[in-house]
């Protein structure tokens, strides 16, 4: 593929479409209609990307089945994937599809999400070890905040809640605001770099 198709064209498209989006954000002009169309075009492109992604997933798992590498998992995945597409093909509000979605997909997602509690517990156990001054500081502040948030602390003294509130409102907020301001400026910076074609890492190569 030529440099024009690989670099110049994507950068030009990014600049032109990005320009319309920025103008639409600040000004109410006829360009707003163009920005709305750009958004619609992106939805179409994203949906085609889903089709190609499903295609690559299918090919990858067919290869796995052929090579007999954990073929049963691949077979199950393909079967469920295409069965879901078939059931929901006519409409996403089809009763059979909704039953399938609410009774199979939602409980499975919820189950995986519930694992989060165990992962947080094990991470907390590992991180709350006072191995250094910083870790000790983290441990003390975390214990104070957790204790202040627990209902039992209020039974003993109202002061614990006040300490927890102060820690969240003053040192925590001060640190977080510093990070958030840095992030905000960073987001604007990378946006401008991308629009102007200075940032090219996402296009592959060394950015030359």
């Amino acid at each position: 593929m030529s440099i024009f198709a690989k670099r110049t064209l994507p950068l030009a498209i990014t600049f032109v479409f990005g320009f319309f989006m920025v103008v639409d954000f600040f000004f109410s002009t006829p360009a707003s209609a163009i920005a709305a169309n750009v958004n619609r075009a992106f939805v179409v492109v994203a949906n085609f990307a889903v089709i190609t992604a499903i295609g690559t997933v299918t090919l990858m798992h067919i290869r796995k089945i052929q090579k007999k590498e954990e073929w049963y998992n691949s077979l199950a995945l393909l079967a469920v994937l295409y069965l879901t597409i078939a059931i929901g093909w006519s409409s996403a509000s089809d009763p059979t599809y909704l039953w399938w979605f609410n009774n199979l997909f939602v409980p499975l997602e919820t189950t995986v999400f519930c694992l989060l509690a165990f992962y947080i517990s094990s991470a907390s156990y590992r991180v709350f070890k006072a191995r250094s001054k910083e870790a000790a500081l983290l441990l003390i502040s975390a214990v104070l905040v957790m204790w202040g948030r627990a209902p039992i602390s209020a039974v003993i003294s109202e002061g614990f809640a006040a300490i927890a509130d102060w820690m969240m409102a003053v040192p925590n907020t001060a640190g977080m605001r510093g990070i958030v301001i840095g992030i905000g400026i960073g987001v604007i910076s990378i946006g401008i770099r991308t629009l102007l074609g200075i940032e090219r890492g996402h296009l592959g190569g060394k950015g030359e």
């Binding site: 989060l116 991470a123 907390s124 958030v180 987001v187 200075i198 940032e199 890492g201 592959g204 190569g205």
Partner: protein, 260 residues
Amino acid sequence: MLRSGAGSSFLFLTIFCVILVAVVLLVRRGAFTPKIRRLSQLDAIAELVGRATEMGKPIHFMPGSGGLTGGDVAPQTIAGLSILGYTSELCAKYGSKMFVTIRVAETQALARDIVQQAYMAAGKPEAFDPNQIIYVAPTSQSYTAGVLGLMNREKIAANIMVGAIWAESIMFSEEAATLGAMQLGGTAHTHQLPFMLACCDYSLIGEELFAAGAYVSKDPLQLAAVVGQDMCKLAAIALIAIGVLATLVGSPSLLDLLKW
């Protein structure tokens, strides 16, 4: 016509653009050589890849679980993809195996292209395997389940998660820690930063993520943009100080300007 309440944002964005472009132009004309501080987290990528190569185990890379839309998500995905290119090239050079897991479909094509170009740049196009870029699932927990399974089956030695990350951050990093993998995490989502700091060996905090692409590319123009970004940060600090002083003396002028 300027939208109501957008005046100050537009003014500050214009000033930001002028500073950034001015610094980039100065560097292009050779007025000065931009330098940014060392980011040991990014230097550690070579260590992560090297360790995985020595152990003969693969690397897991996740360019965030966001896509290319959204004001705060897209920039993080772009930063993650920039680091993916650098990591892929190291993997190609060392002959390490890497899995890139994708949650949002439109990112897959970009990731595949980036990894393929990295293998070509390293002079090993034949070593590129398209199956190493895996579109797992579009929803958060399905994606998490798929990646946790992959990590366990492949017994990864390194885990790199850079980009827009939500609840999956702690699940992946804890699972990788259980497997004894070295980890690099980076996100601009403040609610996930504590988990990254707690579980990863190296963490890119907030704005460091957005400087990562420039740092690994070593491109003077990109580095110049980061220098311009730092200047804007100094301007923001000055503005905060002026705002505090103005409020203390009872002047609402800056607040009025921000509401414009």
